[in-house]
Symmetry: C3
Subunit: 205 residues, 3 copies
Amino acid sequence: MELFFYWFDHLGVAVFAISGTLLAFRKNMDGFGVIVLASVTAIGGGTTRDLILDLPVFWAHDPTYLYTIAVAAVGTIIWLRFRDYIHQKTLAIADAIGLAFFTVMGAQKALEAGFPPLICVVMGTITACFGGMLRDVLARDVPMVLKGELYATTCLVGASVYVFIAPYNALLALLVGGFVTLLLRLGAIRWQWHLPVFHEHGDSR
Amino acid sequence: MELFFYWFDHLGVAVFAISGTLLAFRKNMDGFGVIVLASVTAIGGGTTRDLILDLPVFWAHDPTYLYTIAVAAVGTIIWLRFRDYIHQKTLAIADAIGLAFFTVMGAQKALEAGFPPLICVVMGTITACFGGMLRDVLARDVPMVLKGELYATTCLVGASVYVFIAPYNALLALLVGGFVTLLLRLGAIRWQWHLPVFHEHGDSR
Amino acid sequence: MELFFYWFDHLGVAVFAISGTLLAFRKNMDGFGVIVLASVTAIGGGTTRDLILDLPVFWAHDPTYLYTIAVAAVGTIIWLRFRDYIHQKTLAIADAIGLAFFTVMGAQKALEAGFPPLICVVMGTITACFGGMLRDVLARDVPMVLKGELYATTCLVGASVYVFIAPYNALLALLVGGFVTLLLRLGAIRWQWHLPVFHEHGDSR
């Protein structure tokens, strides 16, 4: 089980590293800019979670996460050499998968460390959203999490589902919570669901 | 006394959450963007302080802070439904009150943990200014703290006053330090006091 | 030896504070904006390193670092009163010297705390690059680390050299690692070396 979580975590890191690489590519960054942006996206959320919960930062004692990022980033670059352009959609889907993984893994880590349920839900959301937020801030994009269609809301719902099911069955909670997050996010992209936007004149559309 | 500080802290969180909500509103963010910006503004400074001082992050073990943020943000949104627009000034005044609270509470927490006076002054300033700085970075505004009229300087003065009086009377220090911060900030807004601005040609105006 | 490292650290803080002050100056910030930007540049990287490695933040218990920053920032401002403008180059060279100091000092601190070599290399890079990255984000510039000529790559190489030599001779490692970083960075500025930039159409130039 422990090992299973470990691979889940690496998978999440890999897809977020790909998402960071794709954005760096779109922004015409150099080779190292790609690595920085891939790393920040992949481990920024988990690092923030570990700092706030006062747990050892997950990658500081286990360099294999950095290898995962390097492999994912270099793999993406090589793959891009044989394809001519990147669909905006590919970026959004890689992001959605990473979001689902990180939401449940973040909530799981907080729950395991004995934090209250609401904090676990928030930690799932932070794990999933902060990496992408830091990525967007560094790349000087409008953070998706602030404008995006149900971006952070999907994490909040997915993490809540996880925290609700976890006391009964940890693996089931992981799968259901993850799928809820993924489906909500993909649905939000596909049909452009969004929360009401608040305008200065007070009317929400 | 302990309890008094606790409510002070919540009051500071509430006014900063309002300030974050108002900016999110001005930037036409969606419902969750509002919550993210309100939270970052309200707890970003205190979180930074607790991480640097290696204390437990204040809201990680006490979810009531998050309820305070939610109530303040939702309350602000509801209030805005019945008013047509937001005065730029309202935003600045909510910010000034939060600034005063956070300055003295931040310095107090560092002092209680036994840090040297200068570090306590800096921690008061960080507690008060970092939330708003993160808010402005996320919302892609010029950080007030870098351009604003005596913004961080007021915190520095207020925290110094607090640290100076605190050994004699903790409550008095809190009140005087807080009022000094608030009055300086309101005065700076009202009469546009500012420190010399440095220009590339070397003349300060 | 311990004392030697301590002065090295202060020297690094001073040159990065100068680099932050120069940027604040170019951006026409007020007196306190200068202090904030100088501080973030000077201690942002080391703070990030200490937080991730779960070590006590280096300046929280030793306020002399803050005095160093204040002296460096005020000294720079006074110096600028007698000179009419700032060479873009001066900024880049101050930055390069700070980069070299921080790279080896960051790797050294991680190595001393018993972290694996790869993590030490990354920590050297974070110590050197994160302060400048935060500076650029706050000043709303494109982070040098993402666009710059071999910016972070020089730290990576310098820190690797340090980690490789350190088991044999700590002081030699410090000097060689630092010089490699400095020379690579100055060479990169002088001859505009850069890593291949990746373009959306897949051709790297």
